[in-house]
Every structure is written in structure tokens, then in C-alpha cells.
Symmetry: C2
Amino acid sequence: MKQIESRDNALFKSFVRAANGKSRNQAWLEGVHLCQAWLQHGATPPQFAVFDTSRVDQSVEIQALYRAVPDQSKVLLASGLMKKLDQVEKGQGVGFIVAPPAAVIPEHIKETVLWLDRVQDPGNMGTLFRTAAAAGVGSVYCSTGCAAAWSPKVLRSAQGAHFSLTIHENCDLQALFNRLEVPLAAMTLQGSVSLYQAKLPHHIAWLAGNEGQGILPALEAIAQLKVYIPQASDIESLNVAAATAICLFEHRRRFLSGE
Amino acid sequence: MKQIESRDNALFKSFVRAANGKSRNQAWLEGVHLCQAWLQHGATPPQFAVFDTSRVDQSVEIQALYRAVPDQSKVLLASGLMKKLDQVEKGQGVGFIVAPPAAVIPEHIKETVLWLDRVQDPGNMGTLFRTAAAAGVGSVYCSTGCAAAWSPKVLRSAQGAHFSLTIHENCDLQALFNRLEVPLAAMTLQGSVSLYQAKLPHHIAWLAGNEGQGILPALEAIAQLKVYIPQASDIESLNVAAATAICLFEHRRRFLSGE
């Protein structure tokens, strides 16, 4: 177990970098829920389990986390230092430093996956991860230009979905098209087929695009399927995370019911 | 037309209050898109159309807005002042001050509506508005405890959906239940019926709850229908805005196809 008293401590400084999303190899899981989710799903203990000294005994959940992690991972922060790591206004006094799991892209992509093309808003990214996990989609491929998947805002918005998914970052989606053995379905505003009339294969690669610009034209052009969601006329399009939820669950509905 | 040079100007100070969500009677519509949407849907010109003097000629869109509003609404801000109103990092140099439309709750609620119980996150609120508008739902009822509907963050996230909806704020939803002439359908984690098996009437009041706590038990208890979304097991529940998108569009799908 380590104790840190000074903000000049080198280890503490590395935590600050991770908490600000400035570390390539370390992510900061802030708060009880994300730490619990990591332990529930994660194969390895956290690199560091960081506790506010003055608040370890404050709640049953924090005590349980404290007991669940090995002693050599534990770091006790002197009061005041935790505030430097908190990304939310009222931090809970606990967080894990973890290495994002390495993800190897398979040679052949044969299952239902979600492809994200330059989704920029961290809240949208996190919601998309959460929706994919809930829909039973196991892998998400994020293009270069997407928000950093393991940044604190994306982690917070995904509520632990990261640990149920295989997340591939900085993908060249056009190059990966060759590995795709399931049809690529672009969600577009002006698709050729209504989602509700489209024939959806059991395994499919869903493709969602940037909030403002949509899907890169070159990528949309190679998609075998283009679907739109029939919505009220003269109305602004749906948010990308809402549109994706509708498509993923329409797909799920069909195969749940054996339709 | 007015010109404001000083940050001590009383009118400018009132703009700052509105831009910070601190005004009860005025909302700040920031950026080209929201201003265009207001003009497209709004019955009245904005109270004030605020332009950064140095940027009026910077884009065709801003010039068009400048021409579209009456002279007495126009306010030109000296450079530097606009930054005090910008809620996003790179403001566009234009915004409208408007009075949120007054909404009178009907004696009898007979159409499909969306009820929100203490939805706290402004991004979720805005996405919910955007989804409701896209699904053709005309009215949203927000309980006391919801994020302020006309705050800048909710406006930004809703992308203009406010102007296609009738938005009721600070509602006592339990008291309003008496006015409801359509079934109230609570979206819950452990509902009694799967969304995909539920009989959904043509007109329905969808009820979504708080991000952490869900729907108030007393309110859930009076709902005629409780539906859950069948999702992958052992996975964190869906985000409230994603879950609502799935329900609203499943409902829309059924009546689009005449099912």
C-alpha cells in the first residue's frame, strides 16, 4: 500500500494526467460504479486503486472496493489531493487507474458489430457503447477522429459498458471493409430503405457517422445497405446515439422474436 | 437597432443572465442553427437578435439572419462582448434572446405525449426533446426536478426540437394523471411486459424516469402499462434517452405499418 501526501509526487502526477485524459496507456475510472464494474468484468486487478484517506470508511461500497483490491494496488491520498482527480463536481473519493485492454482486430469480422465514423461528442460515444452492450453487440470499431474511448467523459457516459465490449480505436474503416464478412449497413438520413422495410441479416455491421457531417461519403458508398429511420417530416434528424439505439434494437427485436 | 459597447450596459447584463440560464423569462438561442430554427417555427420575431459587430459579414447564414429580423430587434455587440455570451468554445457570433412560449396544459390529454420524471442531465433532456419531435410526439411534460427545458445546454442538445414541441415544465405528474385519457406507459427496468410483446394503444403517454433512480414509485404504481426493453443479460441498463428512443420508435413503427 502506498500513501501520497504531496501533489509533487510523481505517481500522483501520472494519476492527474490519466484523470485528464492525457495518458495513452492509462485510464481513470472515477467513482464507485465504474470501479465495481471493472472488478466485475475485468480479468486483472487495477494498476492502482486510489482512495481518499478521509473517506475510505464513509460508505459500505467504498469499504468493499478497498477489501476487493490487492494491497499492492492500493494508494491512499491525503485529503485535498483527490479533488485534483475528480472530473465531476462531487467526487466519491475513489477511482481506479487501469490499462485499457488491448484489442486485436480479427482477420475476419463475422459477427454483429458497430462501426463509428468520427463521432466526436464524448457523451454520444459513451451512450453508443452503452447501447451496443445492451443490444448484445460485442465489438465497436472507432475510426480515427472519434472521441478517445477511454477518456473520463466517455467512461462516465458508458457506465461500465466498456468492460463488456471489445473496443477498437483509431481504425481505418475503409481498409477494414476487406475483413468484413457481414453486410455493412450505413445509417443515413436519406437512405434507400426504411429501417422497418429493410431486410436485415442476422449478422450485420452497423455504421454511424459524425454528428454534423454524417458518414464519410467514401465509406457510405461501399456500404451494402443504407437505411433511414422514418421520422416526422420537417423535423431535425435524430441524435446519432438515439438513431443507433433505434436501429440496434429493431435488429434485436427481429431476431429475438425469430421474425 | 442598438449598439452595445460596454459590459456594464443593463441590456447586455440581461443577455448574460439569459445565456447563463439564470433568467426565468428569457432564453438564449446560441448559434446559426437555433436562430434559423426559431425563425422557421417561431410565430414571433426574437426579442433581441444579437450579432457580433465584427462578424456579421463573416458568413452567408449570419447575413441572412441579419436581414430576416426586424431592425428594432437587432443588437450589435462590440467585439469581445460576444465571448461573455458564448456557451461553446467557438461561438458563431450570433444568438437570439427569446421568450419561451407559454404552454397551457389541456383539460384532457388525448394524444401521444412524453412525460419526464426528474430527468436531470441537460444533454439527456435535449436528446429526449429531439427524439420526441422526430417521433411525431407533440407535447412533453417535465416534472419538477427536471433540468430547465430552455437552458442553453438543453437547447443545444435538442437542436431546435423545442420549436416543434409544446413543452410543459414544473408539472405535478401525479396530479396530471387525472387529465390523462390515454394509458400511461412506464418505461422501467423490470416491467411486467416486454416492449415487443406489449399491446400498445395508438395514443399513449410514455413515462421516463430519473437517470439514477428511475420513475418515482408512486407514479410508476398508477401507470396502466409497464414495459421493459429486452436487453443482453448482465449489462448495465440503457441510457434514458436511448431507451425512450427505442420505445417511441417501436410505437411509431407499429402504427406506420398499420400493424
